[in-house]
Symmetry: C2
Amino acid sequence: MQPPLSSWSEGRAKNAIIDFVERVTCKGSPHYVRRPERIAVFDTDGTLWPERPVYIQAAFAIDRIKLLATQHAKWTEAPLAQAIIAGDIEKLSTASERRTQEILAWTHAGLSADNFEKIIVSWLLTAKHSTFGRRYTELQYRPMQELLAYLRINGFKVFAVSCGSVEFVRVFAEQTYDIPPEQVIGSAIVTRLEFEDGKPLLVKQSRIEGFDDGVGKPSGIRRFVGRRPIFAIGNSDGDQQMLQWVAANDGVRFVGLLRHTDPVREFEYGGNWRIGPPARVLLEARERNWTVVDMAKDWLRVFSERERESP
Amino acid sequence: MQPPLSSWSEGRAKNAIIDFVERVTCKGSPHYVRRPERIAVFDTDGTLWPERPVYIQAAFAIDRIKLLATQHAKWTEAPLAQAIIAGDIEKLSTASERRTQEILAWTHAGLSADNFEKIIVSWLLTAKHSTFGRRYTELQYRPMQELLAYLRINGFKVFAVSCGSVEFVRVFAEQTYDIPPEQVIGSAIVTRLEFEDGKPLLVKQSRIEGFDDGVGKPSGIRRFVGRRPIFAIGNSDGDQQMLQWVAANDGVRFVGLLRHTDPVREFEYGGNWRIGPPARVLLEARERNWTVVDMAKDWLRVFSERERESP
């Protein structure tokens, strides 16, 4: 068996993770946390997989919108939809996750929840990331997979927290990180029970029920999990309140912030992209001594094996 | 080790449960269901614990309202609150679960989620059921505990589904059935992140976010679990759509309906109570050959050991 976290280089981040896990799991430790309370939350876009040049669910929405646009004239009235149809990635990248989610909601109003899931599964089989030229399901971060495995072995239950479409992330998180759908928290398209030939099925409406980035994340986690986590990691200012909320809990807590610092293997954030580098949260992380993970320095590998074979 | 379901008498209901579990768990069976899809949902009030003379969360709300009423003059304007303060159980029993929930929401607006939990925990330590004279945490159904254990051993993940206050049910379901908070689905009081002396905490508002009995249950399950369950059990007409939705899934499904037929050990439903016997759903259960569990006939015991010692 490989030692835990073998894709993490020796250093402060790796030590902080191991130190935290040992303290909360060692019986007799004053920081011991019983198993059902070992809840870990991971932000999704940018923390578990790349979020550039656009969120994966936005890439999916683009393909759907293009496919369906000819049937829906009114879509072309919305500037964001126009950008999508025109393939204007820059404009898309400036749209909020919530706005993208609303546009996405249009593309499956009237579909049954089951059918929508099938569409996602089949899209993931063929769609490729524009920068890496690989299928999205091959772009999970290897060190994060190891971190999840390490936490699970130590009795943690891991939740993925997204403000985006939970339907999409559920399919994706299960395929990439083996996170079951019931452990994915996020916004969702409202469904309504309808009967078709006497058979009940849930039909998607075009309204979203969910929570926003930032202050909405702690409420969302509380709503779904019912407990305050003891481990949280994110990568953007939108994760700041989640990290603050977890950090402010009693006892030993792990709070981490991933920085995209790797222009060679992934991305180095900066410039004018909306999906930019963390600013406020990075200052706070430094001030409060949270664990800052530097992708370039702390990760020996970013993606799975294949990156070595075909760089 | 005791054989499974030892508090269930030999008969159709017990056989149906065992038959279903064996079919979906036996590798090579055409009905085999892989582990992550073995999702079971249980209604709560009346299915996992008694719901008469009032829902347990209503009993809790009564105590809270009485305690806090002197400080909130406007509460006494609402007829339901008047009934609560006057101890008018009959009037309360005619109120919907949702309405009771709204009144309950008043009693903890402004509290932090953590503090509210502490109040519930401490109430459960002393409050007693008016009919049985026992603490509520001693009133879980023994055959249901065995059923949950049997399902879990066979790789099922069990969810409790309530339209009522998820905050209350979460504390209660963990103490009585070892169901963790994240596997309790229900309505919830909206929380908002606020800062107190720079420390973030979630403060309850007086608004509810949730779903209604009946058609709301399938949507709620889908929202939280992300999958259609393969096992469902309920006890009232409010569970009908949930049972229909599960029954209509492809493959072998278990759909059960518990009937309260036991005036000696628990209750025999009938008469004019709002919390009455299932009507529409019982007809459908018979028509579609769902498993009807008759408390008086199918359960050798209703509660835990103590009922023998102190009848």
